[in-house]
């Protein structure tokens, strides 16, 4: 067993961990030793092949194939130097005030979150893409929404030098998305923070943790020798993502005194909907996600977003198989796609557990309210497709594989609620939130509003696990804002804790 000593150890290098690393980096100038321990490797620029299966293996936990305990949802979680910011789409939204009000975390105001989110918007070069760079797939979404009188808005994006490769979720081959791997982590390293990749933390104790370094068959090797490590640190900041932060704390025994640990997980359950146009449209070239529609956010609990995926992901999200399925796949250059994000409620029973080996198990049940939202969203998206001129639509809960434009008036009948059946339709989550929620009450929260784990001075959480309820819009800027807040508290407590 190798031994190492630091003052502060950050576990995970995604949106949360990268932010904390950068914010604590100035402490290195005062002789404080800060390290980031990251499970995944650092992927070299020439390893971004754009090949779906290959990149899924390189960028995602379980190659993107992790399922909920009941098998009804797929969970996409990034792994690597940069975490999920390697594979996110880069839509950069500030959480609305009413959402933070709903969280009702004493001491946490919308003004505070929004001003910190603004800081990261600037740092990450967030801006609107000019209209001439938007492709047909996106513009048709905007057009369809406008025709129907639905509110539609453009997404701000965190790009620099985007060449429109269109494969954001497979990692940008042109390094255009300004994730923590490009912005915060390099800055932290320059200031003296040590980032150790291929390093999985297995146990957190009192001011120490156990980790194992094992190089992945891709990416750059770790700067540390392969083997087991015991690492001493006075401050430990857990940023392993909603699922793994909760699981790591549970497997380290913190669940006994923190009954809310792992609970109140929200996932923004998502569907991909596909329509075929009569003519070729530009779709897979250009940034895939330019607009969102929040028309149904308050009334029906979902958002619609323009999107574009790749052959395998597309094939997997269609309900059905055989010749109709192949026909639709062969129309790839005519496809328009819409992503649905359902706003799920935080429920104590939806939670991260651990199996006998300490690995996470996500026990999450899709509620009837969420299934209702998904049902209504399919009908709304179908209307948008037809308003944009689609010839036919594939709705996962459709009575038939295709709904033709001539049947547009019959959508209510052709997309029945009783076909919205878990296990039959592909439902995924890329926005995992909660499990170590902020609050004051020990029974319903894990940390205070500054990310300090209740009754454990020196132990902090600073990632998506902090969210007490769903973010109700794409969450990474909120995660960075909350992590920034935690870092501020660590800086101010450092004198006392170190």
């Amino acid at each position: 067993m190798f031994e190492k000593t630091f003052d502060i150890v950050i576990i995970g290098s995604g949106a949360g961990g990268g932010t904390v690393a950068k914010e604590l980096a100035p402490l290195c100038g005062e002789g404080i030793r800060v390290a980031v321990l990251e499970w995944g490797p650092k992927i070299s620029d020439d390893e971004y092949t754009g090949n779906e299966v290959d990149m899924a293996r390189k960028l995602f936990v379980d190659s993107g194939g992790m399922l909920t305990k009941d098998g009804n949802m797929t969970l996409a979680m990034g792994k690597g130097y940069g975490g999920s910011t390697l594979s996110y789409t880069g839509t950069s939204m500030t959480v609305p005030k009413e959402v933070v009000d709903r969280w009702a975390v004493p001491g946490l105001t919308h003004g505070d979150v929004a001003s910190r989110a603004q800081k990261y918007s600037e740092e990450n070069n967030v801006h609107f893409q000019p209209e001439e760079l938007l492709n047909d797939n996106n513009l048709l979404f905007q057009q369809g929404c406008r025709t129907l009188g639905y509110n539609v808005e453009q997404f701000p994006l965190n790009l620099k030098g985007c060449k429109g490769a269109g494969i954001c979720n497979l990692g940008c081959p042109n390094q255009a998305k300004q994730g923590t791997h490009l912005v915060q982590l390099p800055e932290a390293e320059k200031a003296g923070v040590e980032v150790i990749t291929n390093c999985l933390v297995e146990h957190i104790g009192i001011q120490e943790l156990d980790a194992v370094v094992e190089n992945a068959p891709f990416g750059e090797p770790s700067t540390w020798e392969e083997g087991r490590y015991r690492i001493k640190a006075k401050i430990i900041v857990v940023c392993a993502g909603a699922v793994h932060s909760s699981a790591l704390l549970l497997s380290s025994g913190f669940g006994d005194r923190l009954p809310a640990l792992g609970r109140y997980l929200t996932l923004h359950p998502a569907l991909i909907l596909v329509a075929e146009h009569p003519q070729t449209i530009s779709n897979f070239c250009g940034h895939p996600k330019s607009f969102f529609c929040d028309q149904f956010w308050r009334s029906d609990g979902f958002l619609l977003e323009s999107c574009m995926y790749y052959p395998f992901i597309t094939a997997k999200n269609l309900v059905g198989f055989g010749s109709e399925h192949s026909q639709l796949m062969q129309a790839f250059q005519r496809l328009q796609m819409i992503l649905v994000l359902a706003v799920d409620q935080a429920e104590a029973n939806n939670r991260v557990e651990i199996d006998g080996d300490g690995r996470p198990v996500v026990d999450y049940t899709l509620s009837n309210a969420t299934l209702d939202s998904l049902h209504t969203s399919m009908k709304a998206a179908t209307r948008i497709f037809f308003a944009a001129g689609a010839a036919r639509v594939h709705a996962p809960a459709g009575e038939r594989f295709f709904i033709e434009a001539s049947e547009a008036d019959d959508i209510e009948r052709l997309i029945p609620r009783n076909k919205v059946v878990p296990g039959r339709i592909s439902i995924t989550s890329a926005h995992l939130m909660g499990g170590c929620r902020m609050g004051e009450d020990l029974g319903t929260s894990v940390t205070d509003s500054w990310g300090r784990v209740h009754d454990h001075p020196g132990l902090f959480v600073a990632d998506s696990a902090l969210l007490p309820r769903a973010n109700e819009i794409n969450p990474y800027l909120t995660v960075m804002a909350l992590a920034d807040r935690v870092a501020e508290r660590i800086r101010s407590d450092a004198g006392e804790l170190l």
């Binding site: 194939g65 098998g71 492709n135 060449k163 429109g164 796949m329 129309a331 790839f332």
Partner: protein
């Protein structure tokens, strides 16, 4: 394939031609690629899941005996589709999920190959473009 025996591979291919009819036209090297992708994905999963999948393939292949008196591979195309559709819509969650998982693997093997891009008309320009 390292993770499935020959009989299981045969059952997998029987299901595959129904799920993606284009599989029947693949040359041997493309079929090899298809199987390699699936094999690698299976290799990352626990042994128990591989066993379940192999068992599920057996069930899929034999279940049509109950209605048609023949296994899946011996059915007319329309009946074979009907048989698989029953699993897709099955009242028991485990059967629906099993079929969904299997279908996902098949799509991964087929559409996860770069060689399929021209067939579907997917032609991304990673290095730059004019939209």
């Amino acid at each position: 394939m390292k993770n499935f025996d020959q009989d299981t591979v045969k059952r997998l291919e029987t299901v595959t031609v129904i799920v993606v009819p284009g599989y029947a036209n693949l040359d041997p090297s493309s079929r090899k690629q298809f199987l390699e992708i699936i094999d690698e994905a299976l290799g990352e999963r626990p042994e128990s899941m591989r066993r379940q999948l192999a068992l599920f393939l057996k069930v899929l292949n034999l279940a049509p005996y109950l209605r048609w008196g023949r296994p899946l591979g011996k059915l007319e195309a329309v009946d074979a589709e009907r048989a698989l559709r029953w699993f897709q819509e099955a009242p028991m969650a485990k059967l629906r999920q099993g079929f969904w998982g299997l279908k996902t693997l098949v799509f991964m093997g087929y559409y996860g190959r770069r060689e399929v891009w021209p067939e579907v008309g997917y032609a991304p320009e990673f290095g730059g473009l004019d939209v």
